[in-house]
């Protein structure tokens, strides 16, 4: 029980806070900035875990996270919304306070669920699984309640952040090969989403995914 553990716990709390902030955020630009902050927190926490457990490859994943989630992906998303000109407010399906309440319920659920696993978990990171799980569920909730395609993608990426946090905190990271693979997947997925945005807008003149309801088979 040293400073590192305390520090990681603090970072976990910040992560959860950012998740809530994203859930309540109405503007896409701020949402992307929040996503970048979340990436930074993730990167720092990975770095701290690497330091405390002296695992070399976690340094690499920390650097990778920093590069990809703090710099490249936010930059890509910024460019995307500039090109698509969609900096306006996010329209939500359910109003924000109700979403927040649902989010709190989810966090309780996640902690409850993670309790038995935390009992089993060894080492410095006990109790963080609940937070990781909660941020995954919160991101899913965000995808669920937003209208615009861009926010859905941010939600998807944030979900991956939660998973990554669970991996580093609970199991001291995955093998580097797996992490590289996931990082590449996320990058490629963002590119593909970007292309899809243009296609969607070209087809429907809007990025509002309610238009896609027409696509169903009658």
């Amino acid at each position: 029980m040293s400073y590192t553990v305390q520090f990681i716990n603090l970072l976990a709390a910040i992560l959860l806070l950012i998740s809530f902030a994203m859930l309540s955020q109405r503007r896409i630009l701020s949402l992307i900035n929040l996503f970048a902050w979340q990436g930074l927190v993730l990167s720092v926490s990975t770095f701290v875990v690497a330091y405390s457990t002296a695992q070399q490859h976690l340094y690499f994943s920390a650097a990778l996270t920093l590069l990809l989630k703090v710099l490249v992906l936010p930059w890509l998303l910024h460019r995307l919304i500039r090109k698509l000109n969609v900096r306006w407010d996010v329209e939500t399906l359910i109003n924000i306070p109700a979403t927040m309440l649902a989010g709190i319920a989810l966090v309780i659920f996640a902690f409850n669920l993670a309790a038995p696993i935390s009992q089993l978990a060894e080492g410095i990171t006990r109790g963080l699984i609940g937070i990781a799980l909660a941020s995954v569920l919160l991101s899913l909730l965000m995808m669920l309640t937003r209208r615009k395609a861009v926010t859905q993608v941010v939600g998807f990426l944030a979900m991956e952040n939660g998973l990554f946090f669970a991996a580093t905190s609970a199991t001291h990271g995955m093998p580097l090969v797996v992490e590289l693979g996931i990082a590449l997947d996320v990058l490629v997925a963002t590119f593909i989403f970007g292309i899809f945005f243009f296609q969607i807008r070209e087809t429907f003149d809007s990025l509002d995914i309610t238009h896609m309801e027409k696509l169903k088979d009658d």
Partner: protein, 684 residues
Amino acid sequence: MRSWDNLQGGEKATRMDIAGVLPLDMAGTIIVLWLALGVLGLTLRGKPHLIANAIFPAGAVASLALAAIGLWALGAAADVAILPLGLPDLPLHLRLDPLSAFFLVLLGGASFGVSLFGAGYFRSMPGKTLGLLCLEYHLFLAGMALVLLADDAYMFMVAWETMALSSYFLVTTDHRIPDIRKAGYLYLLVAHVGAIAILLGFGVMQGGQGIGAYTFDAMRDAHLSAFWSSVVFLLALFGFGAKAGLLPLHVWLPEAHPAAPSPVSALMSGIMLKTAIYGILRFTFDLLDMQQWWWGVLALALGLLTAVFGVIFAAVQGDMKRLLAYSSIENIGLLLVGIGLTIIFHVYGKDALAALSLTAMLYHSLNHAFFKSLLFTGTGAILHATGERNMGRLGGLIRKMPWAASLMLIGVLAIAGLPPFNGFVSEWLLLQAFLLSPGLPNSYINMLIPVVAAVIALSAALAAYVMVKFYGIVFLGQPREPALEQAHDAGIWERAGMGWLALGCVVLGLAPVFVIRQLDPVTQMLIGHGLGNSAGGWLFLTPVDTERASYSPVYFLLAVLGVMLATALAVRRFYHGRLRRGPAWDCGFPEQTARMQDTAEGFGQPIRRIFEPFFRIEREAPSAFDTHPHYHGRSDDRIWLFLYLPIKRITETLSSWVSVLQHGRIHLYLSYTFATLIVLLAFM
């Protein structure tokens, strides 16, 4: 047959090979070559003449090489290879044993002719379509070869699906026509239902032993109980039956064959259907180590039904490619009868007879590959020359297309089962197997078999009737349309391809003893018994006993030629030489036109009358006072109405229930995911 493997295994080291290269390696090279040619064809889209004049002939040469490799491997021991590809713990296994080798000979031999024909047939296609077609065509060939070589379930299914998908795209080459898209869809549907059954069959044989047990070797060693063996057999019969066009899964055949370009129909009918026969043989006699007598009875009954059904429907068709498609159904039925008979004999320990019927069946598949490919390519030549598939608008083409007509005459005579061509030999052998069958311990089967033989004879006779109709309506008489005057004969590539296939029909008919000797390793492998040298000398084919029956096509041919020569001499000798030309007798009706000839409809009329309960007939005949008389007749398949439409309705109802879930709203779909996740997290 395991013991056979072991026996041959010892000889493996001493067996002949050219400079250390095994037949399997060479077959693999051919497959790679085909794939490379296909890709090359795709890159040469801008130069269609190059694809037609270089790629297709090159593919044809590869086919011929494959046939030679197969012929060589027939006598050699089984050869296995494990590729460094595939799933974890399940690399791809290949195996070239006599059964595969025989079907490779069939594939190579028939596709050589078809590819040569294709070189001419496809030359007028636009480059972009042709490039794609070239890729699919060679992918199709490679897929079929891999099906024959596969030695594990994964490899087999991948090859099987490659074959199905590439042939789907070949069928829908003219995808702008809605009917062709529909035919392709039906084909794809039936093919996939069949593939699922095959996959389930593999699953049963694998028996939950882990992924390593998906190799054929592991399946051969797994001793299934009688019940599970029967389940596997039924699944295989269903799955491969769907591909082969077995009743009642034949519906795609008469739709897909006319839709596809003619060389593709030739490949599908001549070769692809045989891969299904190969599959049934592989499952029944190789992978399963026991057979039940009732499997044989089931196969026999289904085969018989299919054969009679096919030939009766062939008799009433007006579209020449549909006619040939139904004729393929008939031949598949005959092949299945052969398989059924083999199973019955084998179970009752009459291995000499089992070898006879198996030989007849294998022989017939080889023959069918040649004559059906010949006929389909022939329809392609006609289609190119006239643009017409409907026999009611053809006629008198023998004068405009002497090459195509004479080559097709060989095919028609062969398929009708007339000596000295190849069709006669295999049908004769099959009937011999029937006639020699009494003495089985099961009295019901004993009583049944003469009846079956009679039905086989009936369908053979009806097949001859169908071919008289086909040839007579298309080539003989007067042209029914003025446009037919512009018909041109087949080009040089087409002639070469058809010539090769016709040559195959003649050679297979004239050298049965040689062919049967080559088939010996296959029957040895599958049922542990061969016809061996019971065939006697090289001239006479005597399947069982000289006193019972023997056949020498060479003597037969010589006798026929002798009689013809004698007749010609006699006519010359006694003919008085006074010649008078006058108008033909016109039945007292002077105004005769080409439209008064017997039509395809009219020729098929008696059959339609006799077998009326088989058809669903829709007719609309004009009254005597109609100023614009219009006749319309359709004979449909009752199975479609009574089996497929109810299945379709049930499927639609079920899927309409499922489609309640489909709203098109991403949020709803995400909520499904979310709810599933929460439920699983909370309760699991």
